[in-house]
Amino acid sequence: MSVSALTIPVKKTFSLLLFFFMSFFVLMSAAQQTLASEVSAEDSLADAWNALSKKNYTKKAKAIEVITQQNPSEARPALKAMLEGQLYYAKRGKALYFLKETDNSYVFTPLFDADSALEPIVQENRRGFRKVKVNNRLRSMIRQFLAVLQLTHEDANIRLSAVQELLKNPDADAAGLMENTVEKETDDRVVAAMRTLLAVIQLENGDEAAQQSAINTLADSLNTSAMNALMAYEAPTKALQNKAESAIQKINDKRDLYNKMETIFFGLSLGSVLALSAIGLAITFGVMGVINMAHGELMMIGAYTTYVIQLLMPDNIAMSILVAIPAAFIVSGLVGIAIERGVIRHLYGRPLETLLATFGVSLVLQQTVRSIFSPLNRSVETPEWMSGAWQINEVLALTWNRLYIIFFCLAVFAALIAVMKKTSLGLQVRAVSQNRTMARAMGVRSKWVDALTFGLGSGIAGLAGVALSLLTNVGPNLGQAYIIDSFMVVVFGGVGNLWGTLIAGMSLGVINKLLEPWAGAVLAKILVLIFIILFIQKRPKGLFPQRGRAAED
């Protein structure tokens, strides 16, 4: 018994000694190695650059590592060019060149500006040069190194994308780099991403305490890599396992929430387009009892106005949209007044005939546009202040153009309500729509009011056209694609009710987008149409029917 009690400490001491000895040995050899590499730093760097022109991929990989560590400023452009297949070397002399292709010539610029012996070479083909080839393994390695290099870039966005690149493929080497930089980092987003990355690495390599704090950090993150790391995590203890699972649950819940928010946002933006295109129709249909089948074509005219204005001011795309808004309103409004004066005036009180006549007008307008602008689709350039997205967090990003369209729709709606409620024109319009004869008896010039109302509705169609031109291509069939939808909105909302139109447009948009992931885009649309057909059975006058005397035919 006493013997065995003694032997254990002896064994322990022995193994400890062995461990020390061995680690000393390892350290010594490592020190030797570093010493050796420092001595030959100049040499090995030059060797490394030379190695790039070799065929051996393992050597190339080693060379890239060396270059990145020792000469980061020149490594960045060289690696980037390599990744894009634009780094070449001369067959004679093995000097490295960047290739820049122009229309009919190839320009080779030497990699090192200081190297005065070499000058840029321009020739018609690539003769005499050979590409520095990369394979997939090398490519992913280069990406990673580039990411590391970019961690110190002065632009915060580039730093952020560099961290995100590392997150896709985290490894322990990056951790060392990160720990130094995270202290100096000033941008919050970059700090958060770096902390996530550190947590991912700690989850794999750290001890239990580190793993615990890593799980806590990751639970607040929405990043896909964080999620993957947690999924792949093999917990040493039951408690940690549970913690990891609840963290996964938490992330999933949050992501679901944000995804739903995004769907609703998409729905609202689609709804705004629908509402915007239907509001003009609601005015002409609701106030005047006129079914304007040419409404879609008035939208198309608005879209083409935007296109023409952009052609007129090509240097100032940002401003052109702002100019296009009033221009489209005026152009479509004038066309609308012309339609009213020329055709609809003769057909009041005969809604079905108006439908046919305005359909004829729509065909004529379509063909006119086709003759002027050709049947091909045109595209309107999106100004810079409308492109991009508002990144709220890793999952939720709201694109600016959709956001602006929602605002635009609400602004148009507010302006219209103001016109209808606060101006004398609005008062007269409402008077005529409620009781034409009485309004005339009170001295309202009903014909003038009709023309202006129709112009107003058409002008708003033009505004909808501006919004549409930024979302889709501008073509002669643009209007037809939206006319049925806008009729649905008006009918669903209740004729003659602007608020009903807005609410109907928004809710149809949201319903459509909610159905889409489950049923697919086309089926979702079919379902919405069937829903409206059935809804009309239940409430033949829409969501918000007109009440009182005005409701009587």
């Binding site: 003769h346 007008v361 065909l363 086709r370 009309i536």
Partner: protein
């Protein structure tokens, strides 16, 4: 007997039937017996074109029954036409059998292409002509019944009804564009070989189809005339002119509307079924709302509420469409648009109305002369 009674006061109807009889005798003779070198020879292409026009005319009559006599401006009537066409197309597809590109004895080519293993249930039975013929009437009829039952019972009228009929055909178009529906998706059904064992490309089959179209138009016209001159027809005119009043008098407005609507849809289905073998293809484009609206303009140009006016309108518009789209393609939409506008503004009763008006004027002039003559 009934025929005599119905046609007694319908001079234009007698004319129409007479003309149909004449062309059904003349066209086959001129096509088959007169040699090709003769100036009187009618090419098979023309025969098919005429047959197509006749199916359009039948469709127009069915639309006029609903719009002219019932006051429902349907903007989705071409949906029934297309459904009838699809039913016929399914029969013709099943007749191809092993002669398809993939040579599958049971599955049509597009199903093999989509690597479907077996025939969907709704394709069963379409290899029998009697079943297909039944379905040509039933499928549009049932759709019209369900749609009409829902719409008329809840008193959806006027513009609302027009818009939801348009929504109906639009939804059907989107649905038939989907490959998963099992109707050939975007390409529709085509590449037909024969009907009832006769080769579809043979001149004699073309003539037979033309004759069938003429007979169908005649029967459709007479049946419609019987309906509009019956009590049902009178009641539907009453509904058209004053719906609430008819309801208060005690007519079951919903039922009257429903049955006329269903009958009209069946007629449109038959027209579609005759149309498909003649043009050789049916695709979802036939459901497009534009087609339904164009159909309405045929009726409007001819003169609504007369039945024969619809026939005239359909023939006239389609002939000019064939002419314009070949000779001056850019002009066609202008012409069609202008027709819409001018007819609604200046010819609310269509061409027939113009003629009726001038006849009436003539009669008045004669009467005035008579009276004057008597005085002198």
């Amino acid at each position: 007997m009934l025929l005599m009674k119905v046609l007694k006061n319908d001079k234009p109807g007698i004319w129409l039937l007479g003309i149909l009889l004449v062309i059904s005798i003349a066209v086959p003779i001129l096509n088959l017996l007169v040699p090709e070198s003769s100036p009187f020879h009618i090419s098979t292409y023309t025969v098919t074109l005429l047959g197509k026009y006749l199916t359009y005319a039948l469709l127009a009559v069915s639309a006029d029954l609903v719009w002219g006599y019932l006051g429902i401006l349907t903007l989705g009537h071409a949906a029934f036409f297309a459904l009838g066409g699809y039913v016929m197309g399914m029969y013709l597809m099943r007749q191809i059998g092993e002669r398809g590109v993939y040579g599958d004895p049971l599955l049509p080519d597009f199903m093999v292409f989509l690597s479907w293993q077996e025939l969907p249930w709704f394709w069963q039975g379409f290899d029998q002509f009697w079943f297909a013929a039944l379905m040509i009437m039933l499928v549009p009829g049932i759709l019209a019944y369900v749609f009409g039952y829902l719409a008329f019972r809840s008193r959806v009228t006027g513009v609302y009804l027009s818009i939801i009929t348009q929504a109906l055909t639009y939804a059907l178009m989107l649905a038939f564009f989907r490959n998963e529906m099992g109707f050939g998706g975007n390409n529709g059904l085509t590449d037909f070989k024969d009907i009832l064992g006769f080769d579809l490309r043979a001149d004699s089959t073309r003539i037979a189809l033309f004759l069938a179209s003429a007979v169908a138009l005649a029967i459709g016209y007479v049946l419609s005339r019987i309906i509009v001159s019956s009590r049902l027809g009178l009641a539907s005119v009453a509904i058209r002119d004053a719906e609430s009043r008819s309801r208060f008098i005690g007519y079951r407005v919903e039922n009257i509307k429903l049955w006329v609507f269903v009958f009209s849809a069946m007629m449109a289905g038959v027209a579609g079924a005759l149309y498909v073998p003649q043009v050789g293809i049916i695709n979802p484009g036939e459901f497009s709302p534009l087609n339904s609206i164009e159909l309405i303009i045929w009726v409007a140009i001819g003169g609504r509420g007369t039945l024969y006016g619809a026939v005239i309108g359909a023939l006239l518009v389609n002939y000019s469409k064939t002419y314009f789209t070949a000779a001056l393609p850019e002009i066609w939409l202008y012409a069609l648009g202008a027709m819409f506008i001018l007819v609604t503004l200046y010819l609310p009763k269509g061409i027939v109305g113009l003629q009726l008006q001038s006849l009436r004027n003539l009669r008045i002039v004669r009467m005035v002369r008579k009276i004057r003559g008597a005085k002198v």
